[in-house]
Symmetry: C2
Subunit: 333 residues, 2 copies
């Protein structure tokens, strides 16, 4: 299970939880698998493929997995079937899956598989604490993107902000857009920047997966704006973060990227609705100017928003050209 | 000379320039040396020791050094003598030394050494651009220390600020204090925090080298404050950064650490008097609160203070427990 937990950390935070699996053959050899994000093989299936590649006898093996195997056909088939088809006689999972796709343990037990659970359940729960919370709240997993100067500004005093961060940062931010279901910004950003919110590659080409553009706020979108002309744009006329997230969840959004502006980011942090933070920080000082996050009502140090450096998928700290990319999850508060 | 330039980057920015040296023996083997900061062996002497250790025949070798060898007895002896004593017949240096300790090239030539200069002079000059500027301006080399939250705040709205950064950051910051000649803060920080400005180790013990405490500003120091009671404290009753730096240079300060508060840091950046930046950044958001740097008069993006990630001595980006330590030099502007 320790190896499965380590493998889980190689995954990508987002619509699905981080899950890792280990298969231990009767003779002692082991292989691991992990889930690399929505639409890709689940950890169990990845581990089964690895076991077959290594020539392990699955019919005498034990599967350890950090979350109860799913019984659900989504973009991939149910893991319960993959496990039965492989003839694996014993399954140990860390944490029960309490969502609608759970119950795989019972299905396997009824099919004659020896099933145990609870081994290192706390570590598995901790790894996906924010994902479990988002799921329990029936809202998308929320990644906040911050692009700022070293002194925490997103634009200079006159609101000039083009190219604060480097080309390497922009390419990375676009690949992030290609991973999410939707991108949310405020009406102010639509007026200020007329963004497309498309996910593009290094040469400006559209990536295969395009997020749904979402605009939060009461103002009408400017008539000539790109997002007003985009039939896919969802305009949520509210300032209530929880209501907006419920609406997006109902529309099938499971991973939301919040890009700003500052008040929108502040509202999501204030609502404790940020699960992951990616902060692109450029080596400049902007002095007076627009803070990257606004409207946080923090009076004293004890009320600070604590973040946790996160080494899953990407390192907690990485260089992107002259910029730094910081990766965090958010704590319990 | 390429190897000498690379070796120079292993050094420590501060009172002395970054200098590297390579010795190439007639048979083709090479060794390198570098200067590791004030009070330690100069690069030439370090390379000569390495050459002796490797059994190179110095009397048929060529010495490549990124800066003209010194002719000066400071805390270490003159390099010109070390070179002559070693019997090195040929010296190539990148950049002439125009300070009062320069002229070593001519001394060596008069002693019969074949001397050439100018090889990759621009790269050597670039490496120490800010040090050369500080020297030309007859002021200390200035390192600015910033300790801040992810959103660029040094304290919460009610000014609570204890333990924003981690124990690892505080230990690092104290070792930095042990490297400089003096530490400067504003009168406001004396009133707010009553700091000692001492350099201490992990267990609170005083380090061998203690910086001179310097306070900038017109206000009297609070009668009961630690710094008022310290006879070593220098109180500079001015807001003129250039005048303060001249005064400190006259008192023999060659490496100054500026620790704040925010207005003092802002004044040093505004005066283009910061040569190096160390920024300790904690994974918290403080929202409204005290910015880590105040008073920068930047109206538009083109006026931003540009910093250059600096991999000399320490990496430009490093983790210190949960914090990040960012290391920059400042550009030409």
């Amino acid at each position: 299970m320790a190896a499965a937990l380590t493998a889980a950390r190689d995954g990508r935070r987002g619509a699905n939880p981080l899950v890792g699996a280990t298969i231990r053959a009767a003779e002692g050899r082991t292989v691991t698998g992990r889930h690399l994000g929505a639409g890709t093989a689940h950890a169990e299936v990845d581990a089964i493929a690895a076991a077959r590649g290594a020539g392990l006898d699955l019919t005498t093996s034990t599967l350890f997995v950090t979350l109860e195997p799913c019984s659900h056909t989504g973009r991939t088939g149910p893991c319960t079937e993959a496990i039965r088809d492989a003839g694996i006689p014993e399954v140990v999972f860390a944490l029960p899956d309490t969502t609608e796709v759970g119950g795989g343990g019972q299905i396997l037990a009824e099919a004659g598989v020896r099933v145990r659970s609870g081994l290192r359940a706390e570590e598995s729960a901790e790894l996906n604490a924010r994902w479990h919370r988002a799921t329990a709240e029936r809202r998308p997993f929320v990644t906040a993107k911050i692009a700022q100067s070293l002194d925490g500004k997103v634009a200079a005093a006159d609101r000039t902000s083009q190219w604060i961060t480097s080309a390497a940062s922009r390419i990375h931010a676009h690949s992030l857009r290609g991973e999410v279901d939707a991108i949310l910004i405020g009406t102010g950003t639509v007026s200020d920047d007329d963004p497309r919110l498309s996910a593009r590659g290094e040469d400006g080409e559209l990536l295969d997966s395009q997020p749904v553009p979402v605009v939060l706020g009461f103002s009408d979108l400017p008539a000539g704006s790109t997002l007003a002309a985009n039939p896919a744009t969802v305009h949520l006329r509210t300032h209530d973060v929880a209501a907006a997230l419920r609406e997006l969840h109902d529309r099938g959004v499971r991973h939301l990227l919040v890009e700003g502006g500052p008040r929108v980011l502040g509202a999501f942090f204030a609502a404790d609705a940020v699960d992951e933070v990616l902060c692109y920080q450029a080596p400049v000082l902007l002095g007076p100017g627009l803070p990257s996050i606004a409207g946080l009502d923090i009076a004293t140090l004890a009320e600070a928003v604590g973040l946790v450096p996160d080494d899953t998928d990407i390192p907690a700290v990485a260089r992107l050209g002259p910029d730094v990319l910081l990766h965090f999850t958010t704590g319990g508060r």
